[in-house]
Symmetry: C2
Subunit: 250 residues, 2 copies
DNA sequence: AACAATTATTGATCCAGCTCAAGTTTTTTA
DNA sequence: TAAAAAACTTGAGCTGGATCAATAATTGTT
């Protein structure tokens, strides 16, 4: 528990308007004028320990979450209690949309390491929508982006295990880059098991492929620390036509 | 081309307020008072022939579509031009959300038979959102439902081919029922190829499983005409624990 | 620092479903 | 209504990746 620096009493407290994630988080695409208003309603500096849940599947929708630091896995449970890793959320990204459809979460959000997050309460969203019409649109866009991401994931499921792992590495790299982190060297905060679950392959296969990539000098892996050594070839591998014959449709 | 009954000149023209799909389409969950307003902005009675595209991937987002009759497949194309069937849309359901994230469609919507649809123009959505705050929320809910549906689809990808086909049949049945159609006997408007593509299995496998189900007296199939004879057993098949060992997580 | 628990690696075997192939039926077009 | 095209069925063999198994490396705990 961090009990230092009570942000609320400091004059230059972080708000949406001056947050370093302001053009990635909710405000991205939101008119400057509306960011201030948003800032007043967001609850900041919430914490969750590694392994803890930010929200549980089945619990009522409490609002949209913006990750400030740390990463999260979004999991769904089937009838037998098997976990499906739906997505990984990185700092600066939003989560919670799985609760909007029927005011109850379909997924559980679990911290992969200690996370710090902001929280836009559900009750305020609709109220806010009237005053700041841009917000509705931004939220709608974000929620649709989630859909798009899932479509991309489906596309990936037609490719070989190699291609999936290559794509996964490149995708994480890309997202980190966008958020100002190193794109060629980073820590995978999720386990092989979680990666495999997410990609739809066995964790043994993930391990094998990661080491195959290392043998081919495409990456360097030491436990969870990853270094990309040949981005182009990784990309080629991902783009290579491994699946069934290319059927040209009209 | 149907040139009879110019609806606009008939006094009792169909609007959202008196449409027979009113509690399935956009108005579902929308306050009665706002339905009237919506009705004024929707373009009705648009047609698209079998095989035609309602919109193309890459084209600018023009609005949300509500299917009145006929069904549609939503496809995405990978870099090599291979088709991925993302979803099937049935009468009374909405489509177009794949265009909201960045004002350009990510998917192509193709009519599986002649379709009739309503169209809520993009330009009007944001304007309308200010006047009828409920609309934003409804749209947000719908778009998130799409996300949920994709998560369900991902779950399905961990199951055996049999379970996927069983689930597919039950899912279509359920959606048709909700819309007032017969739930135990209906026409599959999509080809085996499209079903297989959607489910991530070869079309030969779809065919084999459908006939296996018929041999077991679970269904009766004649070309595209399907009759469910044993819903319970189909459901059990879908719910049966085929995948990897049940790991109980904390 | 030593122990325990979790997570990762690596090998060997096996099978669900893919691919290829060759008819058959249904649908479309002329 | 017949011919052509498209969609569907059914068989046979092959393989990518799952599963099982046994060790090794991390990570967390006392």
């Amino acid at each position: 528990m961090i009990s230092l620096s009570p942000a609320s009493t400091i004059k230059t407290a972080v708000t949406c308007a001056n947050c370093n994630l302001d053009n990635l988080c909710i405000p991205k695409g939101l008119p400057r004028s509306e960011v201030g208003e948003l800032g007043l309603l967001v609850s900041r500096n919430n914490m969750c320990q590694k392994g803890g849940a930010i929200y549980h599947a089945g619990s009522p929708f409490r609002g949209i979450i913006a990750l400030r630091s740390g990463s999260v896995k979004l999991v769904s449970l089937d009838s037998e209690g098997n976990e499906l890793v739906v997505d990984f959320i990185l700092p600066g990204e939003l989560l919670g949309f799985d609760g909007l459809a029927n005011d109850r979460h379909n997924c559980t959000a679990i911290a992969l390491e200690t996370v710090n997050y902001c929280h836009l309460p559900a009750a305020k969203i609709e109220i806010l929508a009237t005053q700041t019409p841009g917000l509705s649109h931004v939220l709608l866009q974000r929620s649709c982006s989630q859909f798009d991401a899932q479509v991309q994931k489906m596309m990936l499921h037609r490719r070989s295990a190699d291609a999936r792992v290559a794509c996964f590495i490149l995708h994480i790299s890309d997202r980190l880059k966008q958020r100002g982190y190193a794109e060629m060297e980073f820590r995978l905060s999720m386990s092989r098991e979680e990666i495999g679950n997410y990609l739809g392959i066995a964790h043994e296969t993930v391990s094998r492929i990661i080491h195959l990539f290392q043998d081919r000098d495409l990456i360097e892996i030491k436990s969870k620390q990853l270094k990309i050594k040949n981005k182009k070839e990784l990309f080629d591998l991902f783009a290579t036509t491994t699946p069934n014959s290319p059927s040209q449709g009209t």
